[in-house]
Amino acid sequence: MIRTLALALTLAGPVAAAVPEVVNEHAMPGFQAFSRATSALADAAAADCTPAALDDSYNAAFDAWLGVAHLQLGPTEAVTHSIAFWPDKRGFVGKTLAGMIADQDPVADDVGGYAEVSAAARGFFALEAMLFDPAFDGYETGSYSCRLVQTIAADLARTATRLETGWAGGFADTLLSAGADNNPVYLSKDEALRALYTQLMAGLEFNAETRLGRPLGTFERPRPTRAEAWRSGRPLRNVELSLKALHGLARTLANGPTPETDAAFAAAADVTANIEDPTFQTIEDPQERLHVEILQQRIQAIRAAVSDEIGDPLGVAAGFNSGDGD
């Protein structure tokens, strides 16, 4: 109790100044990088649509997304689904793409109109299916599938540009002007801070419970093909890059020393090396499973450290109505 109070006293000043730093040093550079990387992917696809040619630019764009994917605020919220349609519990991605290809749906030649198609046929997971799933990846230059890949990549780049513009041209100001008389989203500076803190905690939870929890399944029934982006070999990479970005957010948000949090992130990074298959496809092996579970526990430990070191001083509590239901 005394320790918490002391932290509150020492952090109250610096923490109040954290929002501009999160916006300017964490969010904005991240959205710029995401926009650049998806434009590069679209350019690469326009030049050569075949899977082998797009491996690098697809991965670079996905990497950039993980730098900002946890910022589910403002303009990001409503477009996330169309960037990363995952988890895809009912296999909508494959079904939707297969339907479009079978029908030779002309929307594949209409980048502007592509924003209207189902989110399952947009973004990284549609691209992953086209580029890495044997059911789709055998297409040739000039084919319908080739044009579809070019359009999915171009549509993704447009979405990323809109996101960058949406943050730069409005939402960044909404966060920065929290508490101003005309700010309809954040009625106090505290609310903006809490919103950012919520992204940090939800991002950690998503890594532990969804990115790792889905392939772990149960001990009796592991679910390797429920791992995120496993066909493109990204399950562990996505967790590592997301944790790196979340650590960056935590440091910027705390705006002061966070030794427990830093140690907890380092402890999670340490155990990733023990995981032999970064695609989690051998998670049925008890030893491998254990290593993934340990990583999951370490991520939960990060949550505890962040809660102690950053959340408590902010006085953040869970929602009154959101946790209730009636």
């Binding site: 309809p184 989203v185 009154f320 109505n321």
Partner: protein
């Protein structure tokens, strides 16, 4: 806030005059329950501009209620499963009556006045089995229980008086709950419906959702002068489906369901907590505290736009838009798609804000 002088004057008035008016309660336009920073609970009167007019301590968390059309009197219901409701004199800050449902019945959080405030009806269920009941109370005669009607469904939630002044709309949520808590017992077989009732004839019309939407619990209602009824739903089925959460209905016509575009729809997290019409009757707002989101639709069910606001739930009609309340203490006016902060209080507003 009631001053000491005002308070004494009210007391005096109460003893010498037969009736007080809402002006004696500071002319609130809305009522809402809240949890205070110290963990206690209270009922507040709120003006259209968002200012507090009165505060009455409550013994426990409230849910929703109804204001009497003339007297400065409001009935507020305990959270489900509700063992009591309080009739509060908002002018003098005193509990006038404590209502308890008859043996074997539970209040379900909502109620409505009709016949110029002579009658109160309450949404209830049988503790055993959750069969819906509409409780009928003599509001002019000391709130005596004078009867009840079946609502034609399981687990009714909101009840609302339609513009004709005699038809009641009831949201039969369809969920059977444990007799002692809120555990849901029949989700695989739940069958919500919308019921229209009158005190004279009981059930006069009932409409159900299409079979594949039977997991969509109809819970909250809003209506317009011409008889258009809007209802908000909470989805108990597979989370990845993101079905419509808003429905529109007119007596004798089929239902219309309304959803936002896919990427927007999922942000509600399959949950609408409150619903309101704007003053002009041209827009409907539904709120999701889980998604921290308010979505607006036009009266034909076309999506118009959305607003992000953490833990937002309460929604009520303002002449030029909506009043929104949230669990962080915020009060917002939402007008023509733009939100305007009205205040931030050191309390958590509960699920509903009730218009008078």
């Amino acid at each position: 806030m009631t001053t000491r002088r005002g308070f004494l004057a009210s007391l005096l008035a109460a003893s010498t005059l037969p009736t007080l008016s809402w002006a004696d309660a500071g002319s609130p336009a809305f009522l809402a329950c809240a949890k205070e920073a110290d963990g206690s609970y209270a009922l507040y009167g709120i003006t259209a501009g968002g200012a507090d007019t009165f505060r009455i301590p409550l013994p426990a968390r409230g849910h929703a209620g109804a204001g009497h059309p003339d007297r400065p009197e409001a009935v507020f219901f305990a959270r489900r499963p509700g063992a009591y409701a309080l009739v509060v004199d908002c002018a003098i800050g005193k509990v006038r009556h404590r209502l308890e449902p008859p043996e074997g019945r539970q209040f379900n959080g909502h109620g409505a006045f009709l016949q110029e405030g002579a009658i109160l009806v309450t949404s209830e269920q049988m503790a055993d089995g959750s069969a819906g009941r509409l409780g009928i109370w003599d509001a002019d005669g000391g709130y005596l229980r004078i009867g009840e009607l079946s609502t034609g469904g399981i687990g009714p939630h909101e009840v609302l008086l339609m513009a004709d002044g005699r038809t009641l709309a009831v949201a039969n949520g369809g969920i059977r709950t444990d007799a002692t808590d809120r555990t849901k017992l029949n989700l695989p077989d739940m069958r919500p419906n919308l019921a229209y009732m009158t005190l004279e004839d009981g059930l006069v019309e009932q409409v159900s959702l299409q079979p594949d939407l039977h997991f969509n619990s109809i819970r909250h209602l809003a209506t317009r002068d011409d008889g258009l009824l809007a209802f908000a739903m909470q989805w108990e089925g597979p989370a990845e489906l993101a079905p419509p959460l808003l429905g529109l209905h007119r007596r004798g016509k089929p239902l219309t369901l309304a959803a936002a575009p896919e990427g927007e729809q999922v942000l509600m997290q399959n949950y609408a907590g409150s619903i309101a019409m704007n003053g002009a009757g041209t827009e409907i707002a539904i709120t999701s505290p889980r998604g921290g989101r308010v979505q607006r639709f036009d009266a034909s069910g076309q999506f118009i736009g959305a607003l992000a606001r953490a833990d937002v739930c309460g929604a009520a009609t303002l002449p030029d838009g909506f009043l929104l309340t949230d669990g962080m203490g915020g009060l917002l006016k939402l007008s023509e798609g733009r939100a305007h902060p009205l205040g931030l209080r050191a309390r958590a507003w509960d699920n509903h804000v009730v218009g008078l």
